[in-house]
Amino acid sequence: MKYYLANKSKGISILFVAFLSIFCVYIVSALVSSMLETARDANVNAVTSFSFVMPQDSALTISEEDWTEIENMPEVRAVYQAFIESSYIDTILAKANSFVVFLGEDDLNRLFQDNRYEIIEGRLPVDGAYEVIMHERILRNKGLQVGDFFGSDYDDGESVVGGYQIVGSFRGDDVISFGTDNCQVDQYQDIGVDADTTKYAGVVLPQGALEEMNQVLDHVDSESISFQTRSDIQRQYDEQIQGINLLMAFVILIVAVSISIAIGAVLSTVYQSRMDEYGILFAIGYRKRMIFASISKEILLLLLISWILGIGASVLALGGVNQAIFSKMGQSIALLNANSFLYTGLAIAAMFVITLLPIIRKFAKTDLITIIERR
């Protein structure tokens, strides 16, 4: 380390390059993590207190038979007739799914009572009106307020068909939106489908713990219906993010490898120029292994310093961006998140190995005594 204190420009240039790469990796992985976290919140956390039942792809409705069968399961307390649509929430890099569940007014009231949702603004939707209540985080993410309108009539990017007024926001475990009357259902009714008896989908409430019920639901093997449980959605979500994670790992690998080659080039000239030092140490009784360990320690220390500085700078930068932009969009960045530590750690490890390899090779091949003999 004293070498780099005495040769500051070399130390600083290595630190700086490693620092920059750590900074990039941290920022990218934090943004991706934030996206995944926001997406997870709206997906997986949508079904924290209940599960959904839906007709299998080809069917449009659930048959009376199936319905009764579900209702009669001992783990199921009740099934509320529902119509489920998908809206979206924004994440930093992409849109993610967010459910909107349309229920009868009575069922909705009961659901709110049972799950102890807290209405923090406005009121619940009522029958006979196109109204929704949204989880506070969804509302904030969409940049909407109670009183605003929402739906494909107002927003081209919205997949929820029609137009609804947002009449309230709530706080609760399930990150989701609820409505009563549904525009699509009313259209079907206009062409003769009875809205009261037709079961488009259901909200399945557990008798006891949700996990117990879900375990049973996950094992129902039916050709006409399918359940959307927390574990299902988690699995779908995991599958989706696998690709993203792979891509991220790839990007990080590329960054780490190319930076490592740059640092490696500087380091090998540094250590080449220090061969005199190692020659004399070897002559006076240091083992090659010890000399090599001290070189490794030195490089590792440099990289660790870059790591800490890189993380520090990233956290500061992300904190600023978070305050300025994301918190206003109802998205948060976990400033210190495990993924970013992991990925930057991997980058450091890759840099360490890649920079050290050529030095090891060179070192193993060098006859240190020759260095002294030649003078």
Binding site: F282, A283, I284, Y286, M290, I369, I372
Partner: protein, 212 residues
């Protein structure tokens, strides 16, 4: 103490092998100052490197206190335990201070006190925080002496320690060296007999033979 028997060395020179020396035997007793004299290219350095385990001979045997050291792989440990080195070049580590350079001699024990004492005795008390490039040639070589002595080795190997110094400084360096290693033996190569103390054993290396 150090006993070398029948050492031979040759180098590959194009297609033929060139003999540097053969059947060289030498004994260094405790407190000896052994000078290896000979013209440039006669193989003095090669012999010193072999005696000090830095290089291996083609044949022959070296033992230290009756333990054979010429056929072991653990030469680093032998050098660390027993030997001190001074070369023509000082080989001080440029980014370390004078004191740190001397202390670098021992990787197990921090010999700070001994190092400072020794540097003071060698007249470098005011320079211990300086870096080598701030010193004169003679001062640097004195630091190298301190580095060789600080572990109290049994034998100091010095390969032309004064060759890059002017005559007056060279004489001083040899004086300091002999004055400060009363307990240690010294094996010193040189092509200049003028610098040697009167009480030394001289061995001449000429035409591949060592004449005592």
């Amino acid at each position: 103490m150090l006993k070398a028997e029948n050492l031979s060395l040759s180098y590959q020179d194009g297609r033929t092998r060139r003999l540097i020396f053969s059947n060289v035997s030498l004994t260094v007793e405790e407190g000896d100052f052994v000078a290896i004299l000979g013209p440039s290219g006669s193989g003095k350095s090669s012999l010193l490197y072999i005696l000090s385990t830095l290089r291996a001979a083609d044949s022959g045997r070296i033992s230290l206190n009756d333990v054979v050291i010429s056929d072991t792989k653990k030469t680093c440990e032998i050098r660390y335990q027993n030997f001190g080195f001074i070369f023509q070049q000082h080989f001080l580590i440029p980014h370390l201070s004078v004191l740190e350079n001397v202390m670098a001699a021992d990787y197990r024990v921090k010999r700070r006190k001994e190092a400072i004492e020794l540097l003071e005795q060698l007249g470098l008390g005011d320079h211990i925080r300086k870096r080598p490039h701030e010193l004169s040639g003679g001062e640097r070589q004195r630091v190298a002496i301190a580095r060789a002595l600080v572990k109290k080795p049994r034998i100091i190997f010095a390969d032309e320690p004064t060759a890059s110094l002017d005559g007056k400084t060279a004489g001083e360096i040899i004086k300091l060296l002999t004055a400060h290693c009363k307990d240690a033996s010294i094996v010193c190569t040189t092509h200049d007999p003028a610098i040697l103390p009167k009480t030394c054993k001289v061995a001449h290396l000429t035409d591949g033979n060592l004449l005592l």
